[in-house]
Protein backbone atom coordinates (compact mmCIF):
# COMPACT_ATOMS: atom_id res chain seq x y z
CA UNK A 1 0.00 0.00 0.00
CA UNK A 2 1.23 3.44 -0.80
CA UNK A 3 0.05 4.80 2.56
CA UNK A 4 1.81 4.09 5.83
CA UNK A 5 0.52 4.57 9.33
CA UNK A 6 2.61 7.33 10.89
CA UNK A 7 1.48 6.20 14.34
CA UNK A 8 -1.98 5.71 15.73
CA UNK A 9 -3.78 8.82 16.91
CA UNK A 10 -7.37 9.82 17.61
CA UNK A 11 -9.10 12.14 15.18
CA UNK A 12 -10.38 14.24 18.09
CA UNK A 13 -6.76 15.11 18.86
CA UNK A 14 -6.54 16.33 15.28
CA UNK A 15 -9.37 18.70 16.14
CA UNK A 16 -7.53 19.81 19.28
CA UNK A 17 -4.35 20.44 17.28
CA UNK A 18 -6.31 22.42 14.73
CA UNK A 19 -7.90 24.52 17.46
CA UNK A 20 -4.49 25.21 18.99
CA UNK A 21 -3.32 26.55 15.64
CA UNK A 22 -6.48 28.58 15.05
CA UNK A 23 -6.12 30.09 18.51
CA UNK A 24 -2.72 31.43 17.45
CA UNK A 25 -3.63 32.53 13.94
CA UNK A 26 -7.27 33.63 13.85
CA UNK A 27 -8.41 36.09 16.54
CA UNK A 28 -12.05 35.69 15.48
CA UNK A 29 -12.19 32.01 16.44
CA UNK A 30 -13.90 31.29 19.76
CA UNK A 31 -14.54 27.89 21.32
CA UNK A 32 -17.46 26.61 23.34
CA UNK A 33 -17.71 23.33 25.19
CA UNK A 34 -20.40 21.51 27.15
CA UNK A 35 -18.35 19.94 29.94
CA UNK A 36 -16.14 17.79 27.69
CA UNK A 37 -12.92 19.77 27.37
CA UNK A 38 -10.74 16.71 27.94
CA UNK A 39 -12.62 14.63 25.40
CA UNK A 40 -12.44 17.36 22.75
CA UNK A 41 -8.71 17.96 23.37
CA UNK A 42 -8.96 21.74 23.46
CA UNK A 43 -7.08 22.48 26.69
CA UNK A 44 -4.20 24.16 24.87
CA UNK A 45 -6.60 26.52 23.08
CA UNK A 46 -8.16 27.36 26.43
CA UNK A 47 -4.82 27.90 28.17
CA UNK A 48 -3.61 30.20 25.43
CA UNK A 49 -6.92 32.04 24.83
CA UNK A 50 -8.94 31.97 28.05
CA UNK A 51 -11.02 35.00 27.02
CA UNK A 52 -12.07 33.22 23.83
CA UNK A 53 -13.32 30.07 25.52
CA UNK A 54 -16.85 29.60 26.89
CA UNK A 55 -17.58 26.69 29.20
CA UNK A 56 -21.36 26.31 29.06
CA UNK A 57 -21.77 23.26 31.28
CA UNK A 58 -24.07 20.36 30.48
CA UNK A 59 -26.45 22.52 28.46
CA UNK A 60 -26.01 21.82 24.77
CA UNK A 61 -29.13 23.65 23.60
CA UNK A 62 -27.91 26.82 25.27
CA UNK A 63 -24.47 26.28 23.74
CA UNK A 64 -25.91 26.26 20.21
CA UNK A 65 -27.86 29.44 20.85
CA UNK A 66 -24.90 31.24 22.41
CA UNK A 67 -22.78 30.21 19.43
CA UNK A 68 -25.36 31.71 17.06
CA UNK A 69 -25.33 34.94 19.07
CA UNK A 70 -21.54 35.17 19.10
CA UNK A 71 -21.50 35.24 15.29
CA UNK A 72 -23.61 38.38 15.43
CA UNK A 73 -20.63 40.11 17.00
CA UNK A 74 -18.38 38.93 14.17
CA UNK A 75 -16.90 35.82 15.76
CA UNK A 76 -16.49 32.28 14.43
CA UNK A 77 -17.71 29.93 17.17
CA UNK A 78 -16.61 26.29 17.31
CA UNK A 79 -18.92 24.24 19.55
CA UNK A 80 -17.63 21.03 21.06
CA UNK A 81 -19.35 18.01 22.52
CA UNK A 82 -20.03 14.37 21.58
CA UNK A 83 -21.70 13.83 18.20
CA UNK A 84 -24.86 12.57 19.84
CA UNK A 85 -25.25 15.75 21.88
CA UNK A 86 -24.10 17.92 18.95
CA UNK A 87 -26.93 16.85 16.67
CA UNK A 88 -29.98 14.89 17.80
CA UNK A 89 -30.18 16.53 21.19
CA UNK A 90 -30.10 20.05 19.75
CA UNK A 91 -31.55 19.58 16.29
CA UNK A 92 -34.13 22.33 16.51
CA UNK A 93 -31.65 24.81 17.97
CA UNK A 94 -29.31 24.11 15.06
CA UNK A 95 -32.15 24.23 12.57
CA UNK A 96 -33.63 27.57 13.61
CA UNK A 97 -30.88 29.56 15.33
CA UNK A 98 -27.96 28.40 13.15
CA UNK A 99 -28.95 26.88 9.79
CA UNK A 100 -32.09 28.89 8.98
CA UNK A 101 -30.50 31.98 10.50
CA UNK A 102 -27.42 31.54 8.27
CA UNK A 103 -25.00 31.73 11.21
CA UNK A 104 -21.33 30.96 10.77
CA UNK A 105 -21.13 28.32 13.50
CA UNK A 106 -18.85 25.28 13.35
CA UNK A 107 -20.44 22.31 15.10
CA UNK A 108 -17.55 20.05 16.04
CA UNK A 109 -18.52 16.59 17.17
CA UNK A 110 -16.36 14.00 18.81
CA UNK A 111 -17.08 10.33 19.65
CA UNK A 112 -19.15 9.84 16.51
CA UNK A 113 -20.27 6.41 15.46
CA UNK A 114 -19.94 2.95 16.93
CA UNK A 115 -16.21 3.19 17.67
CA UNK A 116 -17.07 5.26 20.72
CA UNK A 117 -17.11 1.76 22.15
CA UNK A 118 -17.84 0.73 25.69
CA UNK A 119 -20.28 3.51 26.61
CA UNK A 120 -22.82 1.84 24.36
CA UNK A 121 -25.73 2.85 22.21
CA UNK A 122 -26.89 5.87 24.24
CA UNK A 123 -23.73 7.64 23.11
CA UNK A 124 -23.02 5.96 19.75
CA UNK A 125 -24.88 8.10 17.26
CA UNK A 126 -25.23 6.49 13.84
CA UNK A 127 -27.77 8.95 12.47
CA UNK A 128 -25.92 12.27 12.70
CA UNK A 129 -24.74 12.53 9.09
CA UNK A 130 -28.32 12.09 7.92
CA UNK A 131 -29.67 14.61 10.38
CA UNK A 132 -27.13 17.23 9.46
CA UNK A 133 -27.03 16.77 5.70
CA UNK A 134 -30.77 17.33 5.52
CA UNK A 135 -30.44 20.87 6.85
CA UNK A 136 -30.38 23.41 4.01
CA UNK A 137 -27.04 25.20 3.83
CA UNK A 138 -25.25 22.85 6.22
CA UNK A 139 -21.81 21.55 5.19
CA UNK A 140 -21.03 18.04 6.49
CA UNK A 141 -17.44 16.83 6.89
CA UNK A 142 -16.12 13.52 8.24
CA UNK A 143 -12.31 13.37 7.96
CA UNK A 144 -10.43 10.07 8.04
CA UNK A 145 -7.47 10.52 10.37
CA UNK A 146 -5.61 12.87 12.71
CA UNK A 147 -3.86 14.87 10.00
CA UNK A 148 -6.97 15.30 7.91
CA UNK A 149 -9.07 16.30 10.91
CA UNK A 150 -6.55 18.98 11.81
CA UNK A 151 -6.53 20.24 8.22
CA UNK A 152 -10.34 20.23 8.13
CA UNK A 153 -10.51 22.20 11.39
CA UNK A 154 -8.33 24.90 9.86
CA UNK A 155 -10.27 24.89 6.59
CA UNK A 156 -13.73 25.36 8.08
CA UNK A 157 -12.63 28.55 9.85
CA UNK A 158 -12.20 30.12 6.41
CA UNK A 159 -15.45 28.69 4.99
CA UNK A 160 -18.43 30.95 5.52
CA UNK A 161 -21.52 29.15 6.75
CA UNK A 162 -22.58 26.48 9.21
CA UNK A 163 -20.48 23.31 9.23
CA UNK A 164 -20.84 19.94 10.91
CA UNK A 165 -17.39 18.44 11.55
CA UNK A 166 -17.55 14.81 12.68
CA UNK A 167 -14.69 12.91 14.26
CA UNK A 168 -14.07 10.02 16.63
CA UNK A 169 -12.71 8.70 19.86
CA UNK A 170 -10.36 5.75 19.21
CA UNK A 171 -6.75 5.88 18.15
CA UNK A 172 -6.61 4.87 14.51
CA UNK A 173 -4.06 4.88 11.71
CA UNK A 174 -2.75 8.32 10.77
CA UNK A 175 -1.83 7.99 7.13
CA UNK A 176 -2.55 11.20 5.22
CA UNK A 177 -0.01 13.99 4.76
CA UNK A 178 0.62 16.19 7.80
CA UNK A 179 0.77 19.39 5.76
CA UNK A 180 -2.19 18.73 3.48
CA UNK A 181 -4.45 21.49 2.23
CA UNK A 182 -8.05 20.55 2.95
CA UNK A 183 -10.39 21.40 0.08
CA UNK A 184 -13.99 21.34 1.27
CA UNK A 185 -16.19 19.46 -1.18
CA UNK A 186 -13.32 17.84 -3.06
CA UNK A 187 -13.16 14.05 -3.17
CA UNK A 188 -9.69 12.55 -2.85
CA UNK A 189 -8.81 9.59 -5.00
CA UNK A 190 -6.54 7.68 -2.65
CA UNK A 191 -5.82 4.87 -5.07
CA UNK A 192 -6.67 4.25 -8.73
CA UNK A 193 -8.44 1.06 -9.78
CA UNK A 194 -10.61 -0.35 -12.55
CA UNK A 195 -12.92 -3.07 -11.17
CA UNK A 196 -14.79 -1.43 -8.31
CA UNK A 197 -15.01 1.96 -6.60
CA UNK A 198 -14.79 2.07 -2.81
CA UNK A 199 -16.35 5.32 -1.63
CA UNK A 200 -15.37 5.73 2.01
CA UNK A 201 -15.60 8.36 4.72
CA UNK A 202 -14.11 8.77 8.19
CA UNK A 203 -12.55 5.78 9.92
CA UNK A 204 -13.64 3.55 7.02
CA UNK A 205 -11.14 5.10 4.59
CA UNK A 206 -8.27 3.19 6.18
CA UNK A 207 -10.33 0.00 6.20
CA UNK A 208 -11.08 0.55 2.50
CA UNK A 209 -7.37 0.89 1.74
CA UNK A 210 -6.62 -2.38 3.55
CA UNK A 211 -9.50 -4.06 1.72
CA UNK A 212 -8.17 -2.75 -1.61
CA UNK A 213 -4.77 -4.25 -0.87
CA UNK A 214 -6.29 -7.62 -0.02
CA UNK A 215 -8.46 -7.48 -3.14
CA UNK A 216 -5.41 -6.72 -5.27
CA UNK A 217 -3.95 -10.03 -4.09
CA UNK A 218 -7.09 -11.69 -5.49
CA UNK A 219 -6.68 -9.91 -8.79
CA UNK A 220 -9.35 -7.26 -8.18
CA UNK A 221 -8.40 -3.65 -8.84
CA UNK A 222 -10.24 -1.32 -6.44
CA UNK A 223 -10.33 2.45 -6.71
CA UNK A 224 -10.52 4.11 -3.30
CA UNK A 225 -12.16 7.51 -2.97
CA UNK A 226 -12.01 9.43 0.29
CA UNK A 227 -15.19 11.45 0.64
CA UNK A 228 -14.34 13.67 3.57
CA UNK A 229 -17.08 16.13 2.58
CA UNK A 230 -20.45 14.43 2.44
CA UNK A 231 -22.17 17.72 1.67
CA UNK A 232 -21.55 19.34 -0.72
CA UNK A 233 -20.75 16.02 -2.40
CA UNK A 234 -18.18 15.81 -5.18
CA UNK A 235 -20.63 14.25 -7.61
CA UNK A 236 -18.36 14.65 -10.60
CA UNK A 237 -15.59 12.54 -9.03
CA UNK A 238 -18.09 9.85 -8.08
CA UNK A 239 -19.66 9.60 -11.51
CA UNK A 240 -16.25 9.62 -13.22
CA UNK A 241 -15.05 6.71 -11.10
CA UNK A 242 -18.30 4.74 -11.38
CA UNK A 243 -18.18 5.13 -15.16
CA UNK A 244 -14.73 3.58 -15.12
CA UNK A 245 -15.34 0.70 -12.68
CA UNK A 246 -19.04 -0.01 -13.16
CA UNK A 247 -19.82 -0.74 -9.49
CA UNK A 248 -19.56 0.94 -6.11
CA UNK A 249 -19.28 0.04 -2.43
CA UNK A 250 -19.98 2.86 0.01
CA UNK A 251 -18.24 2.56 3.38
CA UNK A 252 -19.21 4.55 6.48
CA UNK A 253 -19.57 4.29 10.24
CA UNK A 254 -23.22 5.31 10.11
CA UNK A 255 -26.67 3.96 9.43
CA UNK A 256 -27.18 3.02 5.78
CA UNK A 257 -30.35 5.10 5.95
CA UNK A 258 -29.42 8.73 5.57
CA UNK A 259 -25.66 8.38 5.35
CA UNK A 260 -22.98 8.80 2.70
CA UNK A 261 -24.22 5.69 0.90
CA UNK A 262 -27.60 7.22 0.21
CA UNK A 263 -26.02 10.42 -1.07
CA UNK A 264 -23.93 8.28 -3.43
CA UNK A 265 -27.00 6.31 -4.56
CA UNK A 266 -28.94 9.47 -5.29
CA UNK A 267 -26.09 10.88 -7.33
CA UNK A 268 -25.66 7.71 -9.34
CA UNK A 269 -29.40 7.22 -9.81
CA UNK A 270 -29.61 10.66 -11.36
CA UNK A 271 -26.48 10.54 -13.49
CA UNK A 272 -25.30 6.96 -13.99
CA UNK A 273 -27.33 4.12 -12.41
CA UNK A 274 -24.71 1.74 -11.00
CA UNK A 275 -24.81 -1.37 -8.77
CA UNK A 276 -23.94 -0.40 -5.21
CA UNK A 277 -23.48 -2.21 -1.91
CA UNK A 278 -23.51 -0.54 1.50
CA UNK A 279 -20.96 -1.09 4.23
CA UNK A 280 -22.78 0.66 7.07
CA UNK A 281 -24.93 -0.21 10.05
CA UNK A 282 -28.27 -1.61 8.96
CA UNK A 283 -30.93 0.42 10.77
CA UNK A 284 -29.81 -0.68 14.21
CA UNK A 285 -28.50 0.77 17.46
CA UNK A 286 -25.03 -0.18 18.64
CA UNK A 287 -23.95 -1.73 21.95
CA UNK A 288 -21.01 -1.87 24.36
CA UNK A 289 -17.75 -3.43 23.25
CA UNK A 290 -14.29 -2.49 22.06
CA UNK A 291 -14.15 -0.52 18.80
CA UNK A 292 -12.59 -3.47 16.97
CA UNK A 293 -15.22 -5.90 18.25
CA UNK A 294 -17.99 -3.53 17.24
CA UNK A 295 -16.57 -2.89 13.77
CA UNK A 296 -16.43 -6.65 13.29
CA UNK A 297 -19.89 -7.41 14.68
CA UNK A 298 -21.63 -4.58 12.79
CA UNK A 299 -19.85 -5.27 9.53
CA UNK A 300 -17.76 -2.11 9.29
CA UNK A 301 -14.22 -3.38 8.77
CA UNK A 302 -12.03 -4.29 5.81
CA UNK A 303 -13.39 -7.85 5.75
CA UNK A 304 -16.94 -6.52 5.37
CA UNK A 305 -15.77 -4.26 2.55
CA UNK A 306 -14.14 -7.18 0.74
CA UNK A 307 -17.32 -9.24 1.01
CA UNK A 308 -19.37 -6.34 -0.33
CA UNK A 309 -16.98 -5.94 -3.25
CA UNK A 310 -17.28 -9.60 -4.25
CA UNK A 311 -21.06 -9.23 -4.14
CA UNK A 312 -21.27 -6.01 -6.14
CA UNK A 313 -18.86 -7.23 -8.82
CA UNK A 314 -21.15 -10.21 -9.44
CA UNK A 315 -24.09 -7.84 -9.84
CA UNK A 316 -22.12 -5.85 -12.37
CA UNK A 317 -21.64 -8.98 -14.50
CA UNK A 318 -25.37 -9.72 -14.60
Amino acid sequence: MKYTDQGKQDTRSGYGAGMTELGRTNPKVVALCADLVGSLKIQTFIDENPERFFQVGIAEANMMGIAAGLTIGGYIPFTGTFANFSTGRVYDQIRQSIAYSDKNVKICASHAGITLGEDGATHQILEDIGLMKMLPGMTVINPCDFNQTKAATLAIADWHGPVYLRFGRPKVANFTAPDQIFEIGKALTMQDGTDVTLVATGHLVWEALIAAENLANQGISAEVINIHTIKPLDEEALVRSARKTGCVVSCEEHNFLGGLGESVSRTLAQHLPTPQEFVATKDTFGESGTPAQLMEKYGLNNKSIEAAVLKVIKRKAQ
Partner: protein, 281 residues
Protein backbone atom coordinates in the same frame (compact mmCIF):
# COMPACT_ATOMS: atom_id res chain seq x y z
CA UNK B 1 -39.38 62.29 32.14
CA UNK B 2 -39.15 61.80 28.43
CA UNK B 3 -41.48 63.61 26.06
CA UNK B 4 -44.03 60.94 25.27
CA UNK B 5 -45.93 62.83 22.59
CA UNK B 6 -44.31 61.06 19.65
CA UNK B 7 -44.73 57.66 21.29
CA UNK B 8 -48.37 58.39 22.05
CA UNK B 9 -48.88 59.01 18.35
CA UNK B 10 -46.97 55.92 17.32
CA UNK B 11 -48.80 53.39 19.50
CA UNK B 12 -52.29 53.50 17.93
CA UNK B 13 -50.75 53.52 14.47
CA UNK B 14 -48.75 50.37 15.25
CA UNK B 15 -51.91 48.76 16.58
CA UNK B 16 -53.65 49.59 13.30
CA UNK B 17 -50.75 48.05 11.39
CA UNK B 18 -50.96 44.87 13.47
CA UNK B 19 -54.71 44.53 13.01
CA UNK B 20 -54.66 45.27 9.30
CA UNK B 21 -51.73 42.91 8.67
CA UNK B 22 -53.31 39.88 10.34
CA UNK B 23 -56.74 40.68 8.90
CA UNK B 24 -55.40 40.85 5.38
CA UNK B 25 -54.05 37.28 5.46
CA UNK B 26 -56.53 35.95 8.00
CA UNK B 27 -53.69 34.59 10.10
CA UNK B 28 -50.96 35.70 12.48
CA UNK B 29 -50.82 36.61 16.16
CA UNK B 30 -52.50 39.88 17.19
CA UNK B 31 -52.92 39.21 20.94
CA UNK B 32 -49.33 39.32 22.12
CA UNK B 33 -48.48 41.90 19.48
CA UNK B 34 -51.07 44.35 20.78
CA UNK B 35 -49.97 43.69 24.36
CA UNK B 36 -46.34 44.53 23.59
CA UNK B 37 -46.92 47.63 21.48
CA UNK B 38 -45.92 50.13 24.16
CA UNK B 39 -42.79 48.10 24.97
CA UNK B 40 -41.63 48.06 21.35
CA UNK B 41 -42.45 51.73 20.86
CA UNK B 42 -40.33 52.70 23.87
CA UNK B 43 -37.53 50.25 23.13
CA UNK B 44 -36.91 51.29 19.54
CA UNK B 45 -37.70 54.99 19.87
CA UNK B 46 -36.44 55.88 23.30
CA UNK B 47 -34.15 53.26 24.83
CA UNK B 48 -31.99 51.76 22.14
CA UNK B 49 -28.97 53.48 20.63
CA UNK B 50 -29.20 52.46 17.00
CA UNK B 51 -26.89 53.19 14.08
CA UNK B 52 -28.21 54.39 10.75
CA UNK B 53 -28.66 51.58 8.25
CA UNK B 54 -28.50 47.92 9.15
CA UNK B 55 -25.39 45.88 9.88
CA UNK B 56 -25.80 42.29 11.01
CA UNK B 57 -22.89 42.43 13.44
CA UNK B 58 -24.25 45.59 15.05
CA UNK B 59 -20.96 46.77 16.51
CA UNK B 60 -21.30 50.10 18.32
CA UNK B 61 -25.06 49.95 18.84
CA UNK B 62 -27.64 48.32 21.07
CA UNK B 63 -29.18 45.11 19.71
CA UNK B 64 -32.56 43.49 20.22
CA UNK B 65 -33.58 39.85 19.90
CA UNK B 66 -37.20 38.71 19.73
CA UNK B 67 -37.49 35.21 21.16
CA UNK B 68 -41.28 34.85 20.95
CA UNK B 69 -41.23 35.29 17.19
CA UNK B 70 -44.97 34.83 16.71
CA UNK B 71 -45.54 38.45 17.69
CA UNK B 72 -43.91 39.40 14.40
CA UNK B 73 -46.69 41.89 13.49
CA UNK B 74 -45.68 44.38 16.17
CA UNK B 75 -41.99 43.80 15.46
CA UNK B 76 -42.40 44.42 11.72
CA UNK B 77 -44.52 47.51 12.24
CA UNK B 78 -42.03 49.01 14.68
CA UNK B 79 -39.04 48.18 12.46
CA UNK B 80 -40.72 49.69 9.41
CA UNK B 81 -41.78 52.83 11.23
CA UNK B 82 -38.27 53.16 12.67
CA UNK B 83 -36.96 53.22 9.10
CA UNK B 84 -35.45 49.76 8.68
CA UNK B 85 -37.58 49.07 5.58
CA UNK B 86 -40.46 50.77 3.72
CA UNK B 87 -43.73 50.92 5.63
CA UNK B 88 -45.54 49.83 2.43
CA UNK B 89 -43.81 46.45 2.75
CA UNK B 90 -46.05 45.64 5.73
CA UNK B 91 -48.69 44.81 3.12
CA UNK B 92 -46.66 41.73 2.14
CA UNK B 93 -46.86 40.14 5.60
CA UNK B 94 -47.20 36.33 5.34
CA UNK B 95 -47.62 36.46 1.57
CA UNK B 96 -45.62 34.51 -1.00
CA UNK B 97 -42.17 35.95 -1.87
CA UNK B 98 -42.24 38.31 1.12
CA UNK B 99 -39.40 39.24 3.44
CA UNK B 100 -42.03 39.45 6.20
CA UNK B 101 -42.39 35.77 6.95
CA UNK B 102 -44.96 34.49 9.43
CA UNK B 103 -42.17 34.33 11.98
CA UNK B 104 -39.12 36.61 11.72
CA UNK B 105 -36.10 35.35 9.86
CA UNK B 106 -32.74 36.53 8.61
CA UNK B 107 -33.12 34.17 5.68
CA UNK B 108 -34.95 36.73 3.51
CA UNK B 109 -32.55 39.47 4.64
CA UNK B 110 -35.14 41.75 6.19
CA UNK B 111 -33.21 44.66 7.73
CA UNK B 112 -33.48 44.79 11.50
CA UNK B 113 -33.80 41.06 12.11
CA UNK B 114 -30.68 39.28 13.40
CA UNK B 115 -31.99 35.80 14.20
CA UNK B 116 -34.86 33.54 13.21
CA UNK B 117 -37.36 32.86 15.98
CA UNK B 118 -40.66 31.09 16.26
CA UNK B 119 -39.69 27.75 17.71
CA UNK B 120 -39.78 28.96 21.29
CA UNK B 121 -37.15 29.12 23.99
CA UNK B 122 -34.07 29.88 21.91
CA UNK B 123 -33.75 33.66 21.98
CA UNK B 124 -32.22 34.08 25.40
CA UNK B 125 -29.25 31.89 24.48
CA UNK B 126 -28.75 33.90 21.31
CA UNK B 127 -28.98 37.17 23.22
CA UNK B 128 -26.38 35.91 25.68
CA UNK B 129 -24.06 35.00 22.81
CA UNK B 130 -24.42 38.50 21.38
CA UNK B 131 -23.79 39.98 24.84
CA UNK B 132 -20.59 37.92 25.15
CA UNK B 133 -19.52 39.16 21.72
CA UNK B 134 -20.11 42.76 22.88
CA UNK B 135 -17.78 42.15 25.80
CA UNK B 136 -15.12 40.56 23.57
CA UNK B 137 -15.39 43.56 21.26
CA UNK B 138 -15.14 45.94 24.24
CA UNK B 139 -18.41 47.45 23.02
CA UNK B 140 -20.32 48.94 25.94
CA UNK B 141 -23.69 48.82 24.18
CA UNK B 142 -26.49 46.67 25.52
CA UNK B 143 -28.41 43.60 24.39
CA UNK B 144 -32.19 43.62 24.81
CA UNK B 145 -34.44 40.61 24.36
CA UNK B 146 -38.14 39.80 24.70
CA UNK B 147 -39.68 36.49 25.74
CA UNK B 148 -43.21 35.31 26.34
CA UNK B 149 -44.14 34.15 29.82
CA UNK B 150 -45.52 30.88 28.48
CA UNK B 151 -42.28 30.53 26.54
CA UNK B 152 -40.45 30.08 29.84
CA UNK B 153 -41.93 26.59 29.93
CA UNK B 154 -39.20 25.67 27.43
CA UNK B 155 -36.24 24.24 29.36
CA UNK B 156 -33.53 25.91 27.28
CA UNK B 157 -34.45 29.22 28.93
CA UNK B 158 -33.35 27.90 32.29
CA UNK B 159 -30.01 26.73 30.90
CA UNK B 160 -29.57 30.25 29.59
CA UNK B 161 -30.77 31.95 32.76
CA UNK B 162 -28.30 29.86 34.78
CA UNK B 163 -25.47 30.63 32.37
CA UNK B 164 -26.05 34.39 32.27
CA UNK B 165 -26.01 34.71 36.06
CA UNK B 166 -23.08 32.33 36.54
CA UNK B 167 -21.01 34.22 34.00
CA UNK B 168 -22.04 37.75 34.99
CA UNK B 169 -23.56 38.64 31.63
CA UNK B 170 -24.50 42.08 32.93
CA UNK B 171 -24.94 43.82 29.56
CA UNK B 172 -28.21 42.01 28.92
CA UNK B 173 -31.78 43.16 29.65
CA UNK B 174 -34.22 40.29 29.08
CA UNK B 175 -37.87 41.30 29.24
CA UNK B 176 -40.64 38.82 29.98
CA UNK B 177 -44.05 39.65 28.55
CA UNK B 178 -46.05 38.55 31.58
CA UNK B 179 -49.58 38.48 30.16
CA UNK B 180 -50.57 35.22 31.80
CA UNK B 181 -51.99 33.74 28.60
CA UNK B 182 -50.93 31.09 26.14
CA UNK B 183 -52.60 29.21 23.29
CA UNK B 184 -54.54 26.70 25.36
CA UNK B 185 -55.58 29.13 28.08
CA UNK B 186 -54.20 30.90 31.12
CA UNK B 187 -50.60 29.94 31.95
CA UNK B 188 -51.88 29.25 35.45
CA UNK B 189 -54.04 26.47 34.01
CA UNK B 190 -51.75 25.15 31.29
CA UNK B 191 -48.53 24.96 33.31
CA UNK B 192 -48.19 27.34 36.25
CA UNK B 193 -45.07 29.50 36.17
CA UNK B 194 -45.23 30.69 39.75
CA UNK B 195 -43.49 33.92 40.66
CA UNK B 196 -41.34 34.49 37.58
CA UNK B 197 -39.44 37.40 39.13
CA UNK B 198 -38.55 35.34 42.17
CA UNK B 199 -37.34 32.51 39.96
CA UNK B 200 -35.00 34.91 38.13
CA UNK B 201 -33.72 36.33 41.42
CA UNK B 202 -33.04 32.88 42.84
CA UNK B 203 -31.06 32.10 39.70
CA UNK B 204 -28.96 35.19 40.40
CA UNK B 205 -30.51 37.88 38.20
CA UNK B 206 -31.47 41.42 39.10
CA UNK B 207 -35.11 42.14 38.30
CA UNK B 208 -37.31 45.14 37.61
CA UNK B 209 -41.09 44.94 37.54
CA UNK B 210 -43.25 47.11 35.30
CA UNK B 211 -46.71 46.80 36.79
CA UNK B 212 -48.48 48.43 33.86
CA UNK B 213 -46.68 47.38 30.71
CA UNK B 214 -49.31 49.10 28.60
CA UNK B 215 -48.61 52.54 30.04
CA UNK B 216 -45.90 54.39 28.16
CA UNK B 217 -44.58 56.31 31.16
CA UNK B 218 -44.35 53.12 33.21
CA UNK B 219 -42.49 51.31 30.43
CA UNK B 220 -40.06 54.19 30.01
CA UNK B 221 -39.46 54.35 33.75
CA UNK B 222 -39.04 50.60 34.09
CA UNK B 223 -36.66 50.19 31.18
CA UNK B 224 -34.58 53.17 32.28
CA UNK B 225 -34.37 51.62 35.74
CA UNK B 226 -33.30 48.31 34.16
CA UNK B 227 -30.62 50.06 32.12
CA UNK B 228 -29.28 51.74 35.26
CA UNK B 229 -28.80 48.29 36.80
CA UNK B 230 -26.62 46.94 33.96
CA UNK B 231 -22.86 46.65 34.33
CA UNK B 232 -23.11 45.61 37.96
CA UNK B 233 -22.30 41.93 37.69
CA UNK B 234 -25.81 40.61 37.13
CA UNK B 235 -28.04 40.16 34.08
CA UNK B 236 -31.27 42.14 34.37
CA UNK B 237 -34.75 40.74 33.81
CA UNK B 238 -37.78 42.97 33.35
CA UNK B 239 -41.15 41.59 34.40
CA UNK B 240 -43.44 43.41 32.00
CA UNK B 241 -47.06 42.95 33.03
CA UNK B 242 -49.22 43.42 29.97
CA UNK B 243 -52.72 42.65 28.81
CA UNK B 244 -52.87 40.42 25.76
CA UNK B 245 -54.91 42.15 23.07
CA UNK B 246 -54.51 45.56 24.72
CA UNK B 247 -56.09 48.50 22.91
CA UNK B 248 -58.96 46.53 21.41
CA UNK B 249 -61.66 46.02 24.01
CA UNK B 250 -63.01 42.71 22.76
CA UNK B 251 -59.55 41.19 22.45
CA UNK B 252 -58.45 41.94 26.02
CA UNK B 253 -58.36 39.64 29.06
CA UNK B 254 -58.52 36.44 27.04
CA UNK B 255 -56.20 34.06 25.21
CA UNK B 256 -58.73 33.82 22.37
CA UNK B 257 -56.87 36.28 20.13
CA UNK B 258 -53.42 34.78 20.60
CA UNK B 259 -53.37 33.46 17.04
CA UNK B 260 -56.62 34.54 15.42
CA UNK B 261 -57.31 37.36 12.98
CA UNK B 262 -60.38 39.61 13.16
CA UNK B 263 -63.05 39.41 10.46
CA UNK B 264 -64.13 42.51 8.48
CA UNK B 265 -66.61 43.70 11.07
CA UNK B 266 -64.29 43.07 14.00
CA UNK B 267 -61.50 44.87 12.17
CA UNK B 268 -63.69 47.93 11.64
CA UNK B 269 -64.54 48.04 15.35
CA UNK B 270 -60.91 47.55 16.37
CA UNK B 271 -59.69 50.29 14.03
CA UNK B 272 -62.29 52.72 15.39
CA UNK B 273 -60.65 52.26 18.77
CA UNK B 274 -57.19 53.05 17.31
CA UNK B 275 -57.35 56.08 15.04
CA UNK B 276 -54.77 56.62 12.31
CA UNK B 277 -52.09 59.04 13.49
CA UNK B 278 -49.19 58.62 11.09
CA UNK B 279 -50.97 57.26 8.04
CA UNK B 280 -51.76 53.65 7.20
CA UNK B 281 -49.41 51.63 5.00
Amino acid sequence: MADLTALEQLVPQVRRDILRMVHQVNSGHPGGSLGCTEFFAVLYNHMMEINEGFNMDGVGEDLFFLSNGHISPVYYSILARRGYFPVEELATFRKIDSRLQGHPTTHEELPGVRIASGSLGQGMSVAIGAALAKKLNKDSHLIYSLHGDGELQEGQNWEAIMYAAGNKVDNLIATIDWNGQQIDGATEDVLPLGDIGEKFRVFGWDTVEIKNGNDLASVVGGLEEAKSRTGKGKPVAVMLKTVMGNGVDFMMYTHAWHGKAPNDEQLATALEQNPATLGDY
